[in-house]
């Protein structure tokens, strides 16, 4: 009675598209509705410390995207094997490894920026965003989605960092991307007329009264710029308004 063998019905696993609606949401959500800095208020420490210039902020943003993405990926790959009792330590080992890789890479390929960022690269380990995403997302989700979630959160963090750095460097130093090969001098006083886009020392300059705001270079400036950003973000995005 071979023909009566019941054929096991094939259970079609629901196909997960690489970039379906949910996947795209994983990347776009942290940029706006669930931004790590302005909504979750994580990672403030480094946002205050490194944002005095745009160039180091860009570098540290890339480093954080790399660390959040790959620590999420590896944690998610191992999520069923990680013993629950020591999961935080295991996550920390993964994060610390990736941060050390970043540090060694910078030391090898771009020593001046490694010097400039000094301790802040190492401090990515303690960035709450990384560990927060591992605990909240990667431990319960599949690798690809965790990877995207990591990228999204890294980008959300980086976006705020660069906005803050842009404002601080422009008004604090009158330059943009200082220290990088594409440094742009916007406003300042100089004897040479070609040094700055707007030269406040030039004869008959309309901007003779202008001076760089030294407060912008201090960490305190980042504090209230982030505060104002949170305010703007909340009044602009209706989803974030508390109805209480």
């Amino acid at each position: 009675m071979a023909d009566t063998v019941v054929q096991e019905p094939k259970i079609e696993a629901p196909k997960e598209p690489l970039f379906g609606k949910k996947e795209r949401k994983l990347i776009t959500d942290p940029l706006n509705d669930n931004n790590p800095i302005t909504v979750q208020v994580l990672g403030i420490c480094s946002a205050l410390a490194v944002t005095s210039l745009v160039y180091p902020s860009v570098v540290i943003s890339i480093a954080v995207v790399f660390v959040t993405a790959f620590s999420s990926l590896f944690t998610s790959l191992m999520r069923n094997a990680i013993p629950k009792q020591v999961r935080m330590i295991v996550q920390l080992v993964i994060i610390a490894t990736l941060v050390t890789v970043v540090e060694l890479t910078l030391k090898r390929y771009n020593y001046p920026i490694y010097k400039e960022l000094s301790v802040y690269i190492g401090l990515i380990i303690t960035n709450c965003i990384v560990m927060g995403r591992l605990e909240a997302f990667s431990m319960a989700n599949k690798p690809w989605r965790s990877f995207l979630d990591g990228i999204g959160n890294g980008l959300g963090y980086g976006a705020i960092l660069i906005i803050v750095a842009f404002i601080r460097e422009l008004f604090g130093k009158g330059t943009l991307f200082a220290g990088s090969p594409i440094q742009i001098n916007i406003i300042g006083a100089s004897n040479s007329t070609t040094d700055y886009f707007i030269n406040t020392a030039a004869d008959g300059s309309w901007f003779g009264w202008y001076a760089n705001n030294n407060l912008m270079v201090l960490p305190a400036a980042a504090m209230f710029i982030i505060g104002i950003l949170i305010w703007i973000h909340r009044s602009w995005n209706p989803k974030l308004v508390d109805i209480s």
Partner: protein, 259 residues
């Protein structure tokens, strides 16, 4: 719940894998990283004589920096605290395998007793005569600060300076490095008074105008400024025995010429 045995095995494997990956990366890149660090320091030393160079060392490529630094224009000497020149063997004995003055780590030297320190001195032959570049190191507000000072052939007039720091406050103490106006204030100041006695250059709150031994500090960075002043006065004093020797030998030569 996992058993204790499982946890131990899991953590051991994880740490081993991580250790292997990191030590592999570290050892393959170590050589280049050290080279990068050396170039970074060479660039800082050259920056102190940037007024006498064709191009700003900041915009030079790595190869140009090495070429200029290791070229004929630059001579490096290691000194002990009595002003005696040290040979390469003696530098190696002090713990620097390279055996050259540029291998001397000022951070290590700062931890030694004052009498046992050795000092690097760079002599740069510019179109306007030799420039003596000395290295100094001191303490700022939060951590160490250091600098290179180029002196003209009279061993007194400053031809240029560069400063760097480990962790001074951005916008305040960090301005010693970030704001080019601060190191520029030292240019033209004197370490020796009119009688040729060592005075040093100090950083003060104000009143530096017309005084060749004082420089205005940065407002809001008093402690860093005091640190810079202390470092300048003490650090350059270390080199005085050697400078005096050169001066007396030059004096002797002049005397012979006069006869």
């Amino acid at each position: 719940m996992h058993s204790t045995k499982y946890i131990v095995v899991f953590v051991t494997i994880l740490t081993t894998v991580v250790a292997v990956i990191l030590s592999f990366l570290f050892s393959t890149w170590q050589e280049q990283s050290k080279l990068n660090e050396a170039i970074f320091n060479k660039r800082a030393i050259l920056s102190s004589v940037k007024d006498y160079l064709d191009a700003d060392p900041k915009t030079m490529s790595d190869e140009e920096v090495v070429e200029l630094f290791d070229g004929k224009q630059m001579k490096q000497i290691a000194l002990d605290m009595d002003g005696e020149e040290l040979g390469s063997e003696e530098i190696k004995e002090s713990g620097y395998k390279g055996g050259r003055a540029e291998d001397i780590d000022m951070a290590k030297e700062k931890k030694k007793d004052e009498e046992e320190r050795i000092l690097p001195l760079y002599v740069f032959t510019s179109s306007e005569g030799p420039l003596y570049i000395v290295s100094v190191r001191g303490s700022g507000l939060w951590d160490e600060i250091w600098g290179n000072i180029a002196l003209k052939a009279d061993f007194s007039t400053v031809a240029g300076t560069t400063f760097d720091h480990k962790g001074e406050t951005p916008g305040l103490g960090a301005e010693i490095k970030d704001n080019p106006a601060f190191p520029a204030k030292f240019t033209g100041k004197q370490f020796l008074n009119a009688e040729g006695e060592y005075v040093g250059i100090d950083v003060v709150k104000n009143g530096s105008k017309g005084n060749p031994h004082k420089v205005d500090g940065i407002s809001g960075a008093t402690v860093t400024g005091v640190g810079v002043g202390e470092m300048m006065v003490r650090g350059v004093r270390y080199y005085q025995p050697y400078f005096n020797k050169i001066k007396s030998s030059q004096g002797a030569q002049m005397g012979m010429l006069n006869n």
